[in-house]
Symmetry: C2
Subunit: 611 residues, 2 copies
């Protein structure tokens, strides 16, 4: 608690120091170019790899990146893939950020969907755009990459919709302060930000004195009186519930960096804990008090029963989106709910703005430790999935995911395509929810945004980040339809030497959509690719860097998973897993039926939410 407070005070001091330094004349003798100032800040934030595509308006800056001693330039095949990679990098390299560099207009606009996804899913990404020089910004000639009508601000206006804050650098006098402002926003709110950097400013000299003061996540202090009142209210509810309570963790536990505080709470209080899909792996899934994934009406029956019967639910970092809640089918009354968020708290029907969970949770732990003995006795279903004995050799989803679970190791980074139930050809995110992942493993998925093809770009960033921070293997599950969207990024993986294992679920088309609508429709078909030749095309003609496999039966796959060389992930590997067109995981089938009804084409059901 004391630590939290002093950290917040220190942040306030830093902020003031920066302001003072802005207000003082910039007379420091130490000079630095704007380009290198930005790189110095990124270095301080722990960025060691940057993504993007070269373009004439960013080449001068890329010279600085290439010459930088600790930051590595990862060129991507296209900008959307680069945005996905920056997103994956930021998700794995916690407390750092992802960076994508593009060029004016053509480049930056290609990244739009990736940046919007980072906004939606709360991933801290800097989108840096090289733009025409400051004189050109003023005279607005009809340059290539413009709309031809003199609107030089159209791209910034679009970026405003999908980034938390923007700095259009035009003046060397406020360039450093502007860079600092948006980078602090980026790390504080965990959302993408946008900087446009004119070609001539890259090499313009400014004072470097501000760099002595590090950027910090400057979370505001909770008001002590309100916080104390809220704590009292929460404790009272625990008393009334006689400790019959449980914790439900979700995405913002990870995104807003309260995993440590939460795990301390769980261990000291002993309450059972469950996770929403976006909160999976926030708490170790082998933790004895962990009961698995709650997904409203489509939860496993034993989980649904326990969660919905509890007298009190402490919800931590919830994101109540359709696919994170079994299509709004939570059956937990608001009266029994306490919601902790990064910037506010809700106790039953009452909202408390500006009371954030980072400082609140440790205090709550102190107040609730006394429940430990009783809370530890509350029963929690074991979250295990037996591998079913099926007579048929065909690989089914029922069999695949429990089997796969035995292959995962601690520290593995697992990426699944994608979060959504409808737009993606892949069914992997549904399957993975039903099995427990090892301790310290990391699961990446895009449950809210759900953009097809995201997982492939994201895998590149995740693999590089995992290598940098000493995590283990990176493993992707993706469908054939999804992989086609962003497939070229596999060639970048070959070039930079990362070695993910890619399980390609080949089910001949957009299976997820078939479940919603159009089971026999042609628009859900795609052409079948010769996947095993992929790496030959992408730069590894003789298999020095890669291996590919096709498995058709349970035995094939089991043998491969048990193969030590395969499991060691010493090369990039692609496993084509042949499955039936209309097979799908349990949760997908249930969700898709709900979803098909909601979208429709027919009636519209009204959502049921916690709050």
């Amino acid at each position: 608690m004391a630590t939290e407070t002093s950290a917040a005070l220190q942040a306030e001091i830093n902020r003031l120091q920066l302001e003072v330094s802005s207000l003082k004349a910039q007379q420091g003798t130490e000079q630095i170019t704007v380009g290198n100032y930005l790189l110095a800040r990124l270095e301080q934030l722990g960025v060691t790899s940057m993504f993007g595509v070269p373009g004439d308006f960013n080449l001068g800056f890329l010279d600085l990146v290439e010459d930088h001693p600790t930051i590595n330039w990862v060129g991507n095949c296209n900008e959307l893939n680069a945005a996905y990679a920056a997103d994956g990098y930021a998700r794995v390299k916690e407390n750092s950020i992802g960076v994508i560099t593009t060029t004016f207009g053509v480049g930056e606009l290609s990244a739009t969907n990736g940046i919007a996804g980072a906004f939606s899913e709360m991933v801290p990404v800097l989108h840096l755009v090289g733009v025409p020089s400051t004189p050109q910004q003023a005279s607005k000639p009809m340059l290539h990459h413009t709309l031809g009508d003199g609107r030089f601000d159209a791209y910034e206006k679009a970026a405003k919709q999908f980034t938390f804050s923007q700095a259009n650098l035009r003046d060397k006098n406020d360039a450093a302060a502007e860079i600092d402002r948006v980078l602090m926003d980026c790390i504080t709110v965990a959302r993408p930000v946008y900087i446009s950097l004119p070609t001539d400013l890259v090499h313009t000299k400014i004072s470097s004195t501000r760099l002595r003061i590090p950027l910090t996540r400057s979370l505001p202090l909770n008001d002590p009186q309100v916080e104390s009142f809220v704590l009292g209210q929460i404790v009272k509810l625990f008393e009334e519930a006689k400790g019959d309570a449980l914790v439900l963790v979700d995405a913002c536990t990870i995104r807003h960096d309260v995993r440590e505080e939460l795990n301390d709470f769980l261990k000291k209080t002993g309450f059972p804990v469950y996770a929403a899909p976006m909160g999976k792996t926030a708490v170790d899934e082998n933790y004895e008090r962990y009961g698995g994934i709650y997904l409203g009406a489509i939860s496993r029956p034993e989980i649904k029963e326990k969660v919905e019967a509890a007298k009190l639910v402490l919800s931590v970092g919830a994101v109540m989106s359709d696919y994170n809640t079994g299509n709004f089918s939570y059956n937990i009354p608001t009266k029994r709910t306490i919601e902790l968020h990064s910037d506010h708290t809700r106790v039953q029907y009452a909202a408390f703005p500006d009371i954030g969970m980072k400082q609140l949770i440790p205090k709550l732990t102190e107040r609730l430790v006394s429940y430990h003995t009783n809370a530890s006795k509350l029963p929690v279903p074991k979250f295990i999935s037996e591998i079913p004995r099926e007579g048929d050799a065909t690989i089914t989803h029922m069999w695949l995911w429990p089997r796969m679970a035995t292959f995962f190791k601690p520290k593995d980074v697992i990426v699944t395509e994608t979060g959504t139930y409808n737009d993606c050809s892949s069914t992997s995110n549904f399957g993975i929810q039903d099995v427990a992942l090892p301790e310290k493993s990391v699961l990446l998925s895009q449950v809210l945004w759900g953009s097809i093809g995201w997982s492939v770009g994201s895998l590149l960033g995740a693999s590089i980040a995992a290598r940098e921070v000493g995590l283990g293997r990176t493993i992707l599950f993706v469908g054939d339809g999804s992989l086609q969207l962003t497939v070229q990024e596999l060639s970048v993986m070959l070039r930079v030497g990362v070695k993910p294992i890619i399980f390609l679920i080949n089910n001949s088309g957009y299976t997820v959509e078939r479940y919603i609508h159009g089971k026999g429709r042609k628009y859900n078909d795609i052409i079948n690719w010769g996947w095993t030749n992929l790496f030959k095309v992408f730069g590894d003609p003789d298999g020095k860097l890669s291996r590919t496999y096709t498995v058709r039966t349970k035995d094939d796959l089991s043998k491969l998973l048990e193969d030590k060389t395969f499991a060691s992930a010493d090369k990039i590997q692609l496993v084509e897993v042949m499955m039936d067109k209309l097979d799908a995981p349990r949760a997908l089938k249930m969700q898709a039926e709900l979803s098909g009804t909601t979208n429709a084409y027919a009636a519209v059901s009204s959502p049921v939410t916690v709050a």
Copy 2:
């Protein structure tokens, strides 16, 4: 002249009839769903192929497309490629439009760059987006594909920056009128438009009576008094110049459909004609009075001399962008210039708003026919490029383009990557400018927008359109760096059975950028792909549908070009043309040097323009 006027009057009548029909109660007994109303309008506009990617919010509409008797659904690998394809389709299928269908958020945003490119380059494209149902639009639940903060209008706001007009259909009562409004804008201004169609409206019934009145390009009539004054001014300038005049054609001649009027003018008056890069093929390049490409300071000397020495230049449909003008190096004083545009006219320093060239040119022809005898005697340099005799077997740009010119046939559709000098790995657009193309051939390039990878998606749309309208072969020139951005679209070409010839200039990276900046920089390197295995991966394992070749010498390539089977384009074919890393066409080298100076990193030159 009379025809033009009555066409404009008829357009006005149609517009009024539509308004009357809107105002009348929609009591017609004929009913049609909103989805089918839209398809009926597209059918009337000559659309027979539509591009896009299925997603849960557009599936209901795609059912209607799949069931439509004359409109064919072309599913793309991703949305950016689909936007490029719609752009290529519209460029080739003149007087029709391109259509791309995407899904809410994730899908539509991926297409942003492609749509913005169509805006910049004035290509009529409809971007149709399937969005959540009207009740969901009102209640704004936290659906997948949303930003998670309830902003359901963020995507529309972004689209507003890059489309000429937008219709967010929410009410069946104005759905038909809204559809008509944006489609008329699309065909009139030749820019992209945006329609968002909620899932429930797709099948909502409305009156079909409006469909009886066709949509027309409703160009406003030139004010007769102003027009007559302008004609007088122009004729006076021709008199003063004693007929020492020439015509310079540019992009809007094609985009705003005045090719016929212009060619009639040229034939009846006999004036010499030159083209800007974006106007190439607007006038038959074998026309005896055609002198080639004018590109300011980097024109061929004999062209530069003739154009800049003329006493009067009649500029038709000019787009004065950097790369269309040799980096603003035109040396033609405004005093000697008449500019005709789709919606205004400039005579020397005077601007005449609302005097459009479609109606003006035929009148000008009448007034200037008397110059024919003398104008026909004005010398025009022959626009031919001899194939140079080079001792070395290596394929050079100096040799390649004149050699290639002998391979082209009338009605070929030639696509070059890309319009720009900087962001693209391909040098093809520079090379092609220096050679004359056959009559009725069509050249597609993106000189103003210049997005890398555009040509590949565009090729798909162009190939389908060429097949529909009875044009000949489609031929692409693309660099290895560029092809990597959008490569998966080749698999769609296999699926739909188009048979383009793809010349892949393999020069190991971003050559164009090397000329600007960073000749030896790593960020300009890309990994070398095994191009000859590409079609195996993309769905043609045994070469039934495709052939690939690698050529390393002039002889290799010449033999291939002379091969009758190859030239017949009976399968999709890819020719990897190995060239030196630092070889480039003449114009590229010159332009890149200009451009490197302008962007810089160092000084900024001030543009010189005509007007």
